[in-house]
């Protein structure tokens, strides 16, 4: 391996956080949804790997938004299907 790069430090990569179980329950309740109705992110996504996300975790992504200034999105970590 050469030099390792922390993708989280790249300016184009937004902030990723793993959400706690309670937070997830709150999230699902506010939107009246099941876990499956969340947007997905692959388990081998470089940012997910760096913060140690596991399949089944929900990731909070905080972005700078051109329209809203700051925008939050939530994604469920899923396994990447082969091909």
């Amino acid at each position: 391996m050469g030099t390792s790069l922390d993708v989280l430090n790249h300016e184009m990569v937004p902030d990723h956080q793993i959400m706690g179980e309670e937070e997830v329950a709150d999230l699902l309740a506010t939107y009246h949804i099941t876990l499956e109705q969340l947007p997905k992110i692959y388990h081998d996504d470089p940012a997910v790997k760096t913060i140690g996300g596991e399949v089944g975790n929900v990731i909070r992504i905080i972005r700078d938004s051109r329209t809203a200034g700051r925008a939050e999105a939530y994604r469920l970590v899923v396994k990447r299907p082969k091909k």
Partner: protein, 882 residues
């Protein structure tokens, strides 16, 4: 309604020969269709067991009439198996991954497990692919040396083995392949992602061919009484013929060579029957030379079953004709020819409240003689849903009969709401709801201000009209789709409907600098406006007659409390702005609805960037904005007619002085180019950083010639002032630019291909008129002439080269963006914004947690921002806000 059954599961698989025989109602052996009496041959392709298409006959299988019998499959027993073209890739894969002797997967069970894993392990769901198997290895199960499998399109498979150091290809017959596929164990197939319960691989090699029911390949009877068969029937005839010959030869013990030829022929016919556009296979043709439309062609592509028949919708209650302009219509109206209004109807239920009105419609009858006459009705529908066509003969009887519960199909009349559309319908403003104005003539009429959203012009464009048939549809059209609710584009958040072309020239001519109008002129200008009285006159002339300024006239169409300050299109962006003292009168200042200074042009009222329009929408709403556009279009047309506006060839004339100056500029530029070429040839040229010598020279030349062209434009522009129509159009932003004017009056300039001078052509030169390796301006497409003076032959040729590039670019761009749009719409069409502000799919899955991240509807925003802060501050301060 249809039954509320739910589709639980769909299974995809292959038909086994057994299943094909089981569903077949008849074995087909005769290639003929009908006998001399026009009766189908038994066991022929039109056998009565396969369903009936001729009225009067009954199906022998289900005993139903032509209209009710769905048709039934038959089958053909093939003399020898043939490959199904649709599965050649699967066959190739299976041949390459299985053993040629024992047909097991060419992997040990440990190797397989490594890839697909045990059930419920990490890797569950994975399948073995062709890449996982090493080439030409030895079978781990029986030790057989494997051979390379070659596949040649469309359906030829062969094994390659080495004999005396030479490669020899041995062809595999479909029967050989079938035998190999038959032996592949079920478990190995599962590892390969094939479910053997529904799709055994040997079923991809056909031994028996299903014959589709006659209902899906009906024959048609031509005018001369001859029958013309469907393409599929033609192809099936070919297959049966060859199959029959094949069988006979086989039974007679014909030599191997002939058998092989016939086998290949049978394969060809079956292949083209399934797909007539396979690579490496000449398409089967009709006698006329037209390629046959076989099974795959019926399904594929834009006109195929899926895109053409299932997702494609055709409608009634629609009309289409050429469009033409009418500036006296409101933007929310559309002019409909009487002939169309008489033909199109909308249903009205008869109630005790409208009984008399309906009776009158019926008495008026189906023929409305003039646009002033009251509208009639074409049909009356009885409570039992029987339709009665109204005609002169039955008007009075029907009028007496109607009572609540009936429905009357009334003709279109003024103020009905209709949907108006122009293709390509690229955005939602391509379909808008208008109100009907019945008119004479044969074209749809619309206000030119609504051309931008439809992207319409009047060079022969046609548009479509649809009549909503229910109260709900009409209400929805009025509230969501009306023109006035679509003035703001959801793309930019700015107005998309507004003045164009003559509206802008007209309002520019009207408002430019301060002028005075007599009472007659003022009334002429304002006669179509809805105003009660004129304002106080600005001053009196020497005879004591009142005079009004042009700015006062324009102010009449503005809302009383409008306050804004902005710079017009004609603003030159001077270093220091002289504001109200601007010499171009480009500083627009509106206080309390009065135009104090400045010229109204594209920046004020134009579609896309009309600032006054935008401000009125924000502060007074869509209704007022629609009225403003109506008023401005009418006023500006009067304004342009007051003075007259035209452009002719002599408007491009310059004086001898200017022509002399232009010649001088061009000659200096050309000799400057020659000087730089000389420097280059002497090797004295300094290359620019990161460029070669040639590139440096080219850039310098382009720069010198570009400047020269601009200089001629300046010279021409100095002579052509505001009295020139083209200048007025360019300055006001109505149409054209100063560059267009330069090219007409001054010099056309450098022609280019891909941003470079023209280099292509003959060996070392562009045209035989020049010396080889000549680098001068004229030799590479610099045009010194103008459109007015006319191009020399070489210049004309270079101009054509440059022009062609533009045409090719547009052609490529439209096809690419069309496909991009199609894919995007397919991906997004079912998304909607839920009540909680999230964007969701139909399954409730979230795409965005907040629409656009800020929850703002761009169609109700001010250029994307939720609040127009600048506009509000400006209105209060009545001053320009930076």
């Amino acid at each position: 309604m249809t039954s509320p059954k739910r589709v639980g599961r769909i299974e995809f698989g292959l038909f086994s020969p057994k299943e094909i025989r089981k569903m077949s109602v008849r074995k087909i052996i005769w290639a003929d269709t009908y006998d001399d009496d026009g009766f189908p041959y038994p066991q022929g392709l039109m056998d009565l067991n396969l369903g009936v298409i001729d009225p009067g006959l009954r199906c022998k299988t289900c005993d139903q009439k032509a209209a009710d019998c769905p048709g039934h499959f038959g089958h053909i027993e093939l003399a020898k198996p043939v490959i199904h073209v649709g599965y050649t890739r699967l066959i190739r894969k299976l041949l390459r991954v299985t053993c040629r002797s024992c047909s097991r997967l060419l992997m040990t069970s440990e190797e397989v497990e490594k890839i697909i894993g045990h059930e419920d392990s990490e890797l569950a769901g994975e399948i073995v692919s062709e890449k996982d198997i090493k080439k030409e290895r030895v079978c781990p199960h029986c030790g057989e040396q494997q051979l390379k499998i070659n596949f040649e399109k469309p359906t030829t498979f062969s094994e390659v083995f080495v004999e005396d150091g030479r490669k020899v290809e041995h062809k595999l017959t479909p029967a050989d392949i079938r035998a190999r596929l038959e032996r592949i164990p079920d478990d190995d197939l599962r590892a390969l992602g094939v479910n053997p319960d529904v799709a055994r691989p040997e079923w991809t090699i056909l031994t028996v061919l299903p014959v589709p029911p006659v209902t899906m390949r009906p024959s048609i009877i031509l005018e001369n009484g001859q029958r013309s068969e469907d393409d599929l029937t033609h192809k099936l005839v070919d297959i049966i013929r060859i199959n029959q010959r094949f069988k006979e030869n086989q039974d007679a013990g014909a030599p191997q060579l002939i058998i092989e030829d016939l086998w290949e022929l049978l394969q060809y016919h079956v292949t083209t029957y399934l797909d007539n556009e396979v690579a490496g296979c000449p398409p089967a043709r009709h006698r006329s030379g037209r390629p046959l439309k076989t099974l795959s062609q019926r399904l594929k592509g834009k006109e195929g079953r899926f895109r053409g028949s299932l997702s494609g919708k055709r409608v009634n209650f629609s009309a289409r004709t050429v469009i033409s302009p009418d500036p006296n219509l409101s933007i929310g109206e559309v002019g409909i020819p009487l002939a169309i209004a008489n033909e199109m109807t909308l249903p009205i239920r008869v109630t005790q409240f409208n009984l008399e009105e309906m009776r009158q419609y019926i008495l008026n009858g189906p023929e409305r003689p003039t646009i002033r006459s009251p509208c009639g009705a074409n049909y009356a529908i009885r409570p039992d849903n029987r339709r009665m066509r109204l005609s002169e003969a039955n008007l009075e009887t029907v009028a007496e009969m109607i009572e609540p519960g009936w429905t009357v199909e009334r003709q279109l009349k003024d103020n009905d709401i209709v949907l108006f559309n122009r293709q390509p319908s690229l955005h939602r403003m391509s379909i808008m709801a208008h109100r009907v104005v019945v008119m004479d003539g044969k074209t749809f009429r619309l206000n030119p201000a609504v051309c931008p959203p439809y992207n319409a012009d009047f060079d022969g464009d046609e548009m479509n009209l649809h009549i909503p048939q229910t109260e709900e549809a009409r209400a929805e059209a009025e509230i969501l789709v009306s023109v006035s609710s679509n003035i703001l584009s959801p793309r930019t958040g700015g107005p998309i409907i507004g003045g164009i072309h003559d509206h802008i020239s007209g309002i520019f001519l009207l408002t430019h600098t301060v002028r005075h109008f007599s009472k007659e002129e003022t009334l002429y200008l304002t006669q179509h406006l809805d105003i009660e009285h004129l304002p106080e006159p600005d001053r009196m002339d020497e005879n004591g007659n009142p005079l009004w300024t042009n700015k006062q006239v324009f102010s009449l169409v503005l809302p009383d409390d409008l306050n804004m300050v902005f710079k017009a299109s004609s603003c030159q962006n001077c270093e220091t702005c002289r504001r109200e003292m601007c010499e171009n009168d480009a500083f627009v200042r509106i206080i309390n609805g009065n135009l104090i200074s400045g010229t109204i042009d594209k920046k004020g009222i134009g579609a896309f960037d009309g600032q006054i329009l935008h401000r009125i929408i924000r502060q007074h709403g869509m209704k007022r904005a629609a009225r403003f556009i109506d008023d401005v279009t009418k006023l500006s047309i009067r304004g342009i007619m007051l003075e007259g506006f035209s452009f002719g060839i002599d408007d491009e004339d310059l004086t001898r002085t200017e022509y002399g100056q232009i010649d001088e500029v061009l000659n200096t530029a050309i000799s400057d180019v020659d000087r730089r070429i000389k420097i280059y040839n002497e090797g004295q040229l300094e290359p620019m950083p990161g460029r070669t010598l040639e590139e440096t020279l080219e850039m310098q030349i382009m720069q010198v010639l570009g400047k020269a062209r601009d200089r001629t434009g300046e010279i021409a522009g100095r002579h052509l002032g505001m009295d020139n129509s083209a200048v007025v159009m360019a300055v006001s932003g109505a149409r054209g630019s100063m560059l267009n004017l330069t090219q007409m009056a001054g010099c056309l300039g450098q022609q280019s291909v891909r941003g470079e001078r023209i280099m292509r052509g003959y060996e070392d030169r562009t045209l035989p008129h020049f010396r080889r390796n000549e680098r001068g301006a004229e030799a590479h497409g610099f045009i010194t002439n103008s459109y007015k003076s006319g191009l020399s032959p070489t210049e004309f040729f270079f101009h054509a080269i440059g022009g062609r590039e533009g045409l090719v670019d547009t052609a490529v761009r439209t096809s690419q963006s069309g496909y991009l749009q199609r894919r995007m719409i397919n991906a997004l069409q079912d998304l909607k914004v839920a009540y909680d502000g999230t964007v969701r799919t139909t399954g409730g899955r979230i795409i965005q947690f907040r629409y656009g991240e800020d929850g703002t509807d761009p169609g109700r925003s001010s250029y994307g921002a939720p609040v127009d802060v600048k506009g509000i501050v400006e209105s209060v301060l009545k001053e320009e806000v930076k």
